[in-house]
Amino acid sequence: MVLKYRFEGYEIEVKDNEILLNLGPQHPSTHGLCRLVIKMEGEKVKEIIPVIGYLHRGVEKICENRSYIQIIPITDRMDYLSSMNNNFAYVLAVEELLGLKIPERAEYLRVIAAELNRIASHLLFIATFGMDIGSFTAFMYGFRDREMILDLLEEMAGARMLYNYMRIGGVKRDVGKEFFERCLKVLDKLEEKLKDYERFFLENELFINRTKGIGILKPEDAIKLGVTGPNLRASGVKYDIRRVDPYSIYDRFDFNVITDNGCDSYARFIVRLKEIKESMKIVRQAIRDIPEGDISARVPKVIRPPEGEVYSRVESPRGELGVYIYSDGKSDKPYRIKFRVPSFANLSAFPHFNKGIMLADLIVSFASIDIVLGDIDR
């Protein structure tokens, strides 16, 4: 007997020996409000249909009705785990429209903020990944270390999650010398902690057994399906926006683009773990080189960019984050603004490389692509 189900315009046939499992929207390991409809035979997954939109707020439409400055806090709320990078992408786009030159100190502060935020985001990935594999201890450890970074970011921006730190033409406020000292101290501490992680995860047979060879994403598929960020680099493709299309002052720093040829969940974990170290390297260099000076360029009170369009992109912790703005030159509101979010493309690739996987492995693979639903649904 074949049963037919229909949801969100999608029709699916389920045979006698198959079951249709609704993973989400309320499920411990969907990282927000993602719904995966899974057709399984036993525990073997035969088809995955992601259903998204539970967090859809219409950010792009809201932005069209806000002035340029009012949009900055809205970008915070897209990918709420890497708000600094969202701010960064947006202000870069507007500055390019305006043709603004940013003071050196502001550029350095932005880089420090963005990289610290990347570390925090990757630590959270490690935490949630550990929990999805069944170790709540890993979860607590990840959160503890993320807390140190959040304290630093709080000192910079005054907020712990939704920073609203960057401004068109600069940053919101300056930090003192003590901040850099504290920052370096935290980085040293974190370096020690990272060794703990390596011991906790990489020397654990059970962890290796659960992640090695799970969710294999071949490099050619990864490129074809539009995967970016650490997920792409874990497939051995050396593609990092900070390197190939340098924005801000990233061409001044010496850091490695981490790649791994494993293509599996394990590789995706390793890449993120190593990227934390690279980010730490960048922060250290930035603190070494940061000059004194202004933190904001002279910007008119009402921002009314000339007619034109721009697409700027940054490497967010999850991949390529792009902002397209079209300004009609008349109003102080963007005519059209579009956010190219990394998690969206990464999730769209997910069903393709996970066919035939087992349910428990699906969870691991799903956790390893590190998506944020606020980012996907916007």
């Binding site: 609704n22 929990m131 594999i133 069944g134 170790s135 709540f136 659960r210 428990a360």
Partner: protein
């Protein structure tokens, strides 16, 4: 003064009640212990608001569960759904009938206690399967299936490990096993491999991390008890903890000498003296002493289980679970059995 026969009669009536009360209290204590130990490992405080060190937290939880509305899902099979928690609770407590808490304190003094014990301890899987099936929902069903696979795979190495002990001791009576250890040495020294096999299979039997697959939170929401709430959920939880107590007591009796500790004779003498001053017959005071020692030892094992596994390990991959048993533990326990047999014959 009670003589030996009336003592047995008394045991038959009183002991089950005593043991059930003890088990219930111990489960409450264990939930507290688990939360506290895990919390300390995970840089948290754990329960610390209710009573000293949060010791009353389990009571508060139990009260909450009792007050909760008893929900039976519309599509569930009502009879099975209601019966399942009771069955798993009863099945989990049954093996305690055959466990000697002391030389003189055992509910049923039958010859083949070990066989009955193993048979009854495997019954709890039926409760889980009934709960899973009765819920008529997909996550519990998947959890139930996993539970059955787990029990089927790990019962065999467990039994084989116990068999080698039986070979050495030459008796199915648990008191004989302890007596053997009293005369010779603790069996963990004679059976180190068997101890490891029993420990791992025991973890799987009690479905503790890394073998907590039937209820793996991140995959199956809550596994077989997804649909349960209130007292039914509490009963399932009780069954699980009782299973943990059972496994740790068995480990103690089989490998760690039961109620034996160095210097037990002095302690026994002291107990008898104290007992005499209160007009308590000597075998009762000895029983109480043995019981306390056994329980303390068992709780040390439980603490180790919480510390080593729950605190530091990940969940095992479902599909390597039966493989690990059939290709790893079963052959190992076979070899262990054969070597033991040869040594015993020689």
């Amino acid at each position: 003064m009670l003589n030996m026969i009336s003592y047995e009669l008394l045991l038959f009536v009183l002991a089950p009640i005593l043991i059930l009360v003890f088990l219930s209290l111990d489960v409450l204590f264990l939930t507290w212990l688990e939360r506290k130990v895990i919390a300390r490992i995970q840089l948290r405080y754990g329960p610390n608001r209710t009573g000293p060190f949060g010791l009353l937290q389990p009571l508060a939880d139990a009260l909450k569960l009792i007050q909760k509305e008893d929900i039976i899902p519309k599509t569930a099979d009502k009879v099975v759904f209601t019966l399942a928690p009771i069955i798993s609770f009863v099945a989990a407590s049954l093996p305690f009938m055959f466990i000697p808490f002391s030389k003189f304190f055992q509910i049923s003094f039958i010859e083949n206690a070990l066989i009955f014990l193993l048979a009854t301890s495997a019954l709890s899987a039926i409760g889980i399967l009934l709960a899973a099936w009765g819920s008529n929902s997909k996550y519990p069903l998947l959890g139930g299936m996993r539970a059955i696979v787990q029990v089927l795979s790990y019962e065999i190495p467990l039994v084989l490990a116990v068999l080698s002990i039986v070979l050495i001791v030459g008796s199915f009576k648990l008191t004989d096993i302890v007596e053997f250890q009293e005369k010779n040495t603790w069996l963990i020294l004679l059976q180190p491999l068997g101890f490891l096999i029993f420990f791992i299979s025991g973890l799987a039997e009690a479905s503790r991390v890394p073998f907590d697959l039937p209820e793996s939170e991140s995959e199956l929401v809550a596994g077989f008890h997804t649909e349960y709430s209130g007292m039914k959920f509490a009963l399932l939880l009780f069954a699980e903890y009782i299973h943990l107590i059972l496994i740790s007591i068995l480990i103690t009796i089989f490998y760690l000498g039961g109620w034996l500790i160095p210097g037990i004779y002095y302690l026994e003498n002291i107990a008898i003296t104290i007992g005499n001053s209160f007009n308590i017959p000597s075998h009762i005071s000895i029983s109480i002493l043995h019981f306390i020692i056994l329980i303390i030892k068992a709780h040390i094992i439980i603490f180790l289980i919480l510390w080593i596994t729950r605190g530091t390990l990940f969940r095992i991959r479902v599909y390597s679970l039966p493989v690990f048993s059939w290709k790893g533990l079963v052959p190992l326990s076979m070899i262990n059995l054969i070597i033991t047999a040869i040594l015993v014959v020689m």
